[in-house]
Symmetry: C2
Subunit: 264 residues, 2 copies
């Protein structure tokens, strides 16, 4: 049994989401707390997806997996109900987005398994605390993300290219960012590449496949981290009969502390 | 009082140097043991040089400083006599190289202070253990070193540019090398730069200021570490009335273990 501090901002955010008082993005909500990506899959493909995450821990760092049919996540926080505690969901049928509700209690089934996957918010907080710039935060836009030529290790039907996020840094800052983010293996960890985008199959750094382009200034190089969009794109390609994810930017706010995710 | 394992290959190497049986370079002697650069200076400038090292720990990681006039170094190993236990020395008068003896007992004075400074052999061993290539070892030549536009912090008469060593690596290997060498802050630690040499004032990567050029292959980038030649070049520029250093490649083999230098 994991013990957590007294209910604080993270718990209140979940109760607000549950009550319908919070339906927007979770950036800057409960600073210091780990936020998580969500994928809910039927048991029929859940075992394959779990194996996929195990084989690809950099893009798919699993924070928790629910028991089939059980919407609680005792490892992530007090009294969590994964069906209601996220501000907005996306419901997919046969690979098509069919709804964006604020609650999925009416869709819950005994065979569903919830996967909670680490998010770059955690290591970006550590970068900012170290005085490192995070360009998309400075520019007030989404992080640029790119499909690469780096394959993931397949499991069952799940396969596809690694997706990376990019943050431009000066060389000395890139070295420090590698040190800082290496401490967070459970939230993507160290970068997977830096420098020439073409080496990992990115043709045009100015045209990300997801998110927004950001400015790369003189003396800066692009630095690439494995991205939690990888499992989302892999799931989307499989077009499972039924799937629920969080809406982009609308994450599960957990009771875990980012600072406690650092292994060093 | 530091305790060491039973006298082994390191102690035997020092006894061989002391007896005149070892007068060559120390590369590959007593693998696993820390080797150290030497600078011996008169007390008049020793305090300034100590302050210089304190202010510039990346190029000048001090492993030990002797008491004035005392040739022992109890922190570095059993029964060390710094006047005889290095295979070959260089003696400098007014900045001019005047001799390369295998023993400096006859030159020892009560006001001399010995500075022992960490060496990249330690982190290169860790790189090789991690399966990372070290090009100058592959090519059987000296590491390429470059004067940069990065200033050191001056102390008394000691000042001058940072000198760096360079090892070419693929991006993913560079990221791993940053992780590996970050564990060794007492032997230069993490790189100071990677990528474009011009950003740190290196005009021609093919023409190092010290050592030998090495091949940079397609898909590789130069990675730069602060180098122990920095204090040597800074001392040389001051042209002290009297100074003793080790001859290049002829290091003090200590009883310290490289693996024990890792902070993590």
């Amino acid at each position: 049994m994991t013990h957590f501090p007294e209910p604080g901002a993270a718990y209140r955010a979940r109760l607000d989401a549950r009550a319908g008082r919070l339906a927007g993005p979770t950036a800057n909500i409960a600073p210091g707390h780990v936020q998580a990506n969500l994928a809910i899959l039927p048991a029929g493909v859940a075992a394959d997806f779990l194996r996929f995450c195990q084989r690809n821990p950099k893009p798919c760092p699993l924070l928790a997996v629910s028991e089939p049919g059980d919407p609680s996540l005792p490892g992530l926080g007090r009294d969590i109900d994964v069906r209601s505690d996220i501000p907005r969901y996306r419901v997919w049928r046969d690979g098509e987005l069919v709804d964006e509700p604020t609650d999925v209690r009416d869709l819950w089934r005994d065979d569903l398994v919830a996967f909670l996957i680490g998010c770059s918010f955690s290591f970006e907080e550590a970068m900012l605390e170290n005085g490192l710039p995070v360009r998309h935060i400075e520019q007030g836009c989404n992080v640029p993300m790119y499909r690469t030529s780096i394959p993931t290790l397949p499991a069952g039907p799940f396969q596809g290219p690694l997706v990376v996020s990019m943050r431009p840094l000066k060389a000395a800052d890139a070295i420090r960012a590698i040190q800082v983010t290496s401490r967070f293996p459970s939230v993507h960890g160290a970068p997977v590449h830096l420098g020439d985008p073409a080496e990992i199959g990115i043709a045009d750094i100015g045209r990300p496949d997801y998110g927004d382009p950001v400015e790369i200034r003189a003396g800066e190089m692009p630095v690439f981290w494995a991205c939690g969009v990888t499992p989302q794109s892999v799931v989307a390609a499989v077009r499972p009969a039924f799937c629920i994810t969080h809406a982009p930017g609308h994450m599960l706010v957990t009771d875990l502390l980012n600072s406690r995710m650092a292994v060093l």
